[in-house]
């Protein structure tokens, strides 16, 4: 707090130096003679009262009113006063904001995020609207379903975030280090994810997440996906392609496990299709049994490596160990099982191809023969029955 106070003093001194004219600025006490009245409103009906005690405890509490409300030199002041310019003191932040997605500042004055201008607290203060635990709610004022997100055609991210692992850590555990909006997006200079300068631009995502998840980012950088992205192949996934950006789930939870394979499958279509033919997929699809092998149980998650790399869990030498994590007793012969076998590919899987073909032919021929046999039989039996009954003088059944 000592630093803050000294900065404040310097600012106050600077403000006094530049703006205190010879006619001596109004003293705050004089302003509060009127503006302390809690019911005071301007012509448009907006409150223009100031809570004196709150203001004095705020970060700007040592400033005089006129330091910010510079157009007011004397009393009585005009009905219309010029808006306060925060950038007089906060030039860096203002410059960042000017280049950001929030630059249309008519919609986004500083107070949108920092709250009541007369009750602004440092971001380390739990009363601040930008205190880490308050940030999601502050951003969510606009970026939620009912807010301005719809108006600007933005995804409603607040509900996704608040139910995510980050949101849970923050809202349920009060974990200050849990990622909140500004941990990834920054604060004043928030850029669109399409801007290469943005912290959320595709190639910058690993670094952004790596601010906290340093170990995993290193693993990722060593894997095929990380190397591909680093080489400029933007089809390869970064963190958010698999984990999503806002609705990030705990990866060991069943919800994430069940949704993970189609995510990998959205790029690895052939592998996904052959995976779906296997028992791993069949039992995984039915739920309630989340232990079943998903892509990353065998391939690894962040440091995905090709089978030709001896460090890969699917390298031939490592298969017994990898499969053995679930299949107790897995041996050399067991791991010859092909988790992506294609029974329709004669070159890759000849034995399987012919077994499938034989089974298909068996199924088709038996069913076709007996279908014809049964239909003919039915027709003939019914014909005989009707003939017999009419001969016996009964009504046709």
């Amino acid at each position: 707090m000592k630093t803050v106070s000294s900065i404040t003093l310097v600012l106050v001194a600077a403000a006094l130096l530049f703006h205190a004219g010879p006619a001596a600025a109004q003293k705050s006490a004089e302003c509060l003679a009127c503006h302390a009245d809690a019911s005071m409103q301007d012509a448009a009906g907006h409150s223009i009262s100031v809570d004196e005690s709150k203001f004095h405890s705020s970060i700007h509490g040592s400033l005089e009113c006129a330091n910010c409300h510079t157009s007011i030199k004397s009393y009585p002041h005009p009905d219309k006063v010029t808006p306060v310019k925060c950038d007089t003191c906060h030039a860096d932040e203002a410059a960042g904001l000017a280049g950001s997605v929030h630059s249309a500042s008519a919609d986004h004055p500083c107070t949108s995020c920092h709250g009541d201008a007369h009750a602004i607290f440092p971001k380390t203060d739990a009363r601040s609207a930008v205190y880490p635990l308050n940030v999601p709610h502050t951003c969510g004022n606009c970026h939620s379903n009912e807010g301005m997100a719809q108006k600007h055609g933005l995804a409603s991210v607040y509900p996704s975030y608040i139910d995510s692992i980050h949101g849970f850590a923050l809202s349920k555990e009060g974990l200050l280090v849990a990622a909140n909006c500004q941990s990834c997006h920054g604060s004043h200079k928030i850029l669109s994810k399409r801007n290469p300068q943005s912290a959320t631009y595709k190639t910058n995502v690993p670094q952004t997440c790596g601010t906290c998840h340093a170990g995993i980012t290193t693993n990722y950088a060593n894997g095929v996906h990380g190397k591909a992205v680093a080489a400029g192949k933007l089809d390869a996934p970064v963190c958010s392609d698999c984990h999503t950006a806002h609705a990030i789930l705990q990866p060991t939870e069943s919800a994430f496990r069940t949704q993970s394979t189609p995510i990998c499958g959205s790029c690895h279509k052939e592998k996904f299709s052959t995976y779906r033919d296997t028992f791993h997929s069949q039992l995984g699809a039915l739920g309630g049994y989340v232990e079943t092998a998903r892509c990353w149980d065998c391939h690894g998650a962040h440091d995905v490596l090709p089978a030709s790399d001896p460090r890969s869990p699917i390298a031939p030498a490592n298969l017994v160990k990898t499969c053995g994590r679930c299949h107790v007793g897995a041996n050399e012969s067991f791991v010859q099982y092909q988790p992506h076998a294609n029974a329709h590919n004669r070159k890759l899987n000849p034995a399987l191809y012919f077994i499938r073909l034989f089974m298909n032919l068996l199924l088709g021929s038996v069913l076709t023969f007996f279908m014809i046999h049964t239909i003919l039989w039915l027709i003939r039996s019914r014909y005989d029955q009707v003939k017999r009954k009419s001969a016996e003088g009964e009504k046709n059944a």
């Binding site: 739920g287 007793g329 067991f334 010859q336 092909q338 029974a343 068996l362 279908m371 049964t374 039989w377």
Partner: protein, 286 residues
């Protein structure tokens, strides 16, 4: 068949319906009951796995407690059916090999196919299209023998491939790696064949065709009327009459409550089977 003779009741029931004749022993009827119960269970739990991406598979799975519950019941029914299969195998070997009973492995009463079955098949097909007289059948007609052997072969193939998946690391000790891929294909295709065959062809051939409609009760009650016997298996009837063994096969008429109970059970089984058939076909076309 000696055991049939032993079971034939001496107190003949001469109701207004005429005489009844024994066709299946209590053990055979029990075997059929265990077979269709476990088969329905295996089909109901196997199909969601085979068509795991279909809308009904997931709904059914979540209703019964997910994959864990499905595989548990699949294995439970599988073990029950395996035991029934072994009991049947033991009975056959006991009668045919140990007791040296005649007519088990060969002859007119055997389940083993013979030249008459080939002639019957051709003759039956000719009769269907109006090219000849209707063949007269012995104790087991050719389609009944086919049903029996289809189930017999099916149980060996599906059972073996199923246990190979269940105990994959163990089977991998003496099976090549690709066999572990093959067993799923074999298991699911053969299972599908059994399901499609039983729920469409067996149901119609044995129960729904005009001669038996809506259900042939003989596999539940064990007995059938003299008229039915003569009509369906005239050769067996005539042979028994010729050999003077007909009287030994006369049995009591089934109790009304038992017939009604059997009908309820049978219709439930047919209803479940047809439902599963529709779901299976829907997985291909929807």
């Amino acid at each position: 068949m000696p055991d049939l003779e032993q079971e034939a009741s001496e107190t003949l029931h001469h109701g207004g319906k005429g005489r009844f004749f024994m066709r299946f022993t209590r053990e055979q009827r029990a075997l059929h009951a265990v077979l269709f119960t476990t088969f329905l269970g295996l089909a109901a739990t196997g199909l969601p796995m085979r068509f795991s991406q279909s809308f009904w598979a997931r709904r059914f799975a979540s209703a019964v407690g997910g994959f864990g519950a499905i595989i548990f019941f699949h294995k439970l029914f599988a073990v029950a059916l395996t035991l029934a299969f072994l009991v049947h195998l033991k009975a056959i070997l006991q009668r045919g090999v140990v007791n040296r009973e005649k007519g088990i492995f060969w002859g007119v009463t055997s389940m083993v196919a013979n030249w008459k079955d080939v002639k019957d098949l051709v003759g039956h097909l000719r009769w269907m299209v109006g090219l000849g007289p209707k063949p007269q059948f012995e104790r087991y007609a050719y389609w009944e023998k086919f049903d029996y052997w289809a189930v017999f072969w099916g149980m060996i193939v599906i059972g073996f491939s199923g246990y190979a998946m269940w105990f994959a690391p163990f089977f991998a000790r003496f099976l090549p790696g690709w066999a572990l891929n093959a067993v799923l294909v074999i298991h699911s295709e053969e299972g599908l064949l059994a399901i499609l065959f039983i729920f469409s062809i067996h149901f119609v051939n044995t129960h729904l065709r005009p001669d038996s409609f809506p259900m042939d009760m003989v596999v539940f009650t064990g007995v059938e009327s003299e008229e039915e016997f003569k009509h369906k298996r005239s050769q067996e009837y005539e042979r028994l009459a010729r050999e003077g063994k007909l009287e030994a096969r006369v049995a009591e008429a089934p109790a009304l409550w038992f017939t009604n109970f059997s009908k309820v059970v049978g219709f439930i089984a047919i209803f479940i089977g047809l439902t599963l058939l529709v779901l299976t076909l829907s997985a291909y076309f929807i």
